[in-house]
């Protein structure tokens, strides 16, 4: 079960990288068209930049995700209890000890990130440390160590980093709209209307479609793996009660103040507490009640 999941995660990582490359290429083409009337140029520049960027980030993605989430690294002396629990979970999960980070936020939450188990890191919020007892912390960190063991971290880290790139690109495009309006009056071409339509399509694509695809892909990926990590956590701690009561406390708490939206899918529970009404398509996490119900059956 675990080995299958690891292979699947590694395969999915490549699929998602290709998918993002396509989205980025299209977004780059859209931008190229808007700025320089050169979709091919834009596409090539976007691909080259993202390849270089990806190469740099993938050498140690944990650093980047941690700084995006305003997390600071701690050592054993600063946070002995947290450190020891992470050590315990890494021991029983047979993975190397990850680096440990703390986020100054009163809402309880946690996530794991990294390239592979040898280059991994876990972060917890101050709120989590304050609200949870040792048993509950074990449940939460067991969940995070399971993500590390399953290579979920690589998958979700790549997704988070790439979603970040796409939202940055569409941010650039949204600035363009303002001076696009001013510019239009000077153009007396016969093709004016056609060009306008193309430009509108390009803007729609860059602004909406890119981030939408990216967000969807990321969220679909993160939902199912949460159940597996919950189950694996219990396998490590042999104590479903710890995780159950931790999840209950997390569910009943306030959302985080400044969680990075592109890494929201990596947290143990949605840090933004977004409600999407009738559709669960955009939820980054399965409903907590469902997770608790599954844990209670174990």
């Amino acid at each position: 079960m675990l080995f299958q999941q690891i292979t699947r995660n590694k395969r999915k990582t490549y699929i998602i990288m290709i998918l993002f490359a396509v989205i980025l290429a299209l977004a780059g083409a859209g931008l190229g068209y808007l700025f320089g009337n050169s979709p091919w140029g834009g596409m090539i520049i976007a691909l080259i930049i993202s390849a270089i960027y990806l190469f740099i980030v993938m050498r140690d993605p944990a650093n980047m995700v941690m700084s995006l989430n305003h997390a600071r690294e701690v050592n054993e002396q600063e946070e002995p209890e947290l450190w020891h629990i992470v050590q315990d979970m890494a021991l029983v999960g047979r993975v190397p000890m990850p680096r440990v980070y703390i986020i100054d936020d009163a809402s309880p939450n946690a996530f794991a990130t990294g390239r592979d188990p040898e280059h991994s890191a876990v972060a917890v919020t101050q709120g989590l440390l304050k609200m949870m007892n040792r048993e509950e912390l074990e449940g939460v960190l067991g969940h995070e160590i399971s993500h590390i063991r399953n290579y979920d971290i690589r998958l979700s880290t790549v997704a988070a980093v790439l979603v970040g790139v796409i939202s940055y690109l569409s941010g650039i495009a949204s600035h363009y709209i303002w001076w696009f309006d001013d510019d239009r009056g000077h153009d007396n071409d016969d093709n004016n209307n056609l060009v306008l339509i193309f430009k509108i399509i390009a803007i729609i694509f860059v602004l909406i479609l890119g981030p939408l695809c990216a967000g969807l892909a990321q969220m679909a990926l993160s939902r199912n793996r949460e159940y597996l990590a919950d189950a694996s956590s219990v396998d490590l701690t042999r104590n479903p009660q710890g995780l159950i009561s931790a999840l209950k406390k997390i569910a009943g708490s306030k959302p985080m103040k400044k969680a990075d939206p592109s890494s929201a899918g990596m947290y143990i529970a949605d840090p933004l507490h977004k409600k999407h009404g009738f559709s669960h398509l955009f939820d980054s996490h399965p409903p907590t009640e469902d997770r608790i119900k599954r844990l209670e059956k174990m």
Binding site: H84, N133, R134
Partner: protein, 186 residues
């Protein structure tokens, strides 16, 4: 060479390959069980090193609890004298130490000064940590042992195991104290 010779050659190479894989798998499982036992050993030693400090710190605050303190020291000495390899005996004494430590930690309820002592709190976290590590190492040992023993019982690895004289390892009995490590709320 004829086709038949080739086929036989390939089958032989294939069988050797499978044999080697199985043998290595068995060795790996064996190494895992030994490694997780040494984890337990390391933690037991670490705890033994911490106990004198705990006793020293506690002594000044809880003068009337001499017996409790002496008991844990005595058990500690007992543990150091058990020859290596006596796993059952080692664990029996170590479980008794776990219980004795719990009663020392409980002292802080009666001695507020002790509870306020930074050194005591630090030692308590350290010892709770080793207690947990002992419990988790035992759990890891048992799951490693289960994997290894399963290989000894199932075909075809049982054939390779019997040729090389691999021996079954025993589980560590789960004591009632195992999950009941000193639960102290801060």
């Amino acid at each position: 060479m004829s086709t038949l010779t080739w086929i036989i050659l390939i089958i032989i190479i294939l069988l050797i390959g499978i044999y080697i894989t199985i043998y290595n798998g068995l060795q790996k499982a064996k190494v895992y069980t030994d490694e997780s036992w040494s984890q337990i050993d390391v933690q037991l030693k670490r705890r033994n090193d911490l106990i004198p400090n705990l006793v020293e710190t506690t002594k000044g605050y809880a003068k009337h609890e001499k017996e409790t303190l002496e008991h844990v020291v005595e058990l500690r000495n007992q543990l150091t004298n058990i020859p290596t390899g006596e796993r059952t005996e080692t664990l029996k004494v170590s479980n008794q130490i776990s219980d004795a430590l719990k009663s020392i930690f409980a002292l802080q309820e009666n001695y507020p000064d002790l509870k306020a002592n930074q050194n005591f709190m630090k030692l308590q976290e350290e010892l709770t940590n080793t207690e947990n590590k002992i419990a988790y190492s035992r759990q890891l040992y048992n799951s490693s042992a289960a994997l290894y023993d399963q290989k000894l019982l199932t075909f075809p690895s049982n054939l390779v195991a019997s040729i090389h004289g691999f021996k079954k390892v025993d589980y560590l009995e789960a004591s009632a104290a195992e999950k009941e490590v000193p639960k102290v709320k801060f």
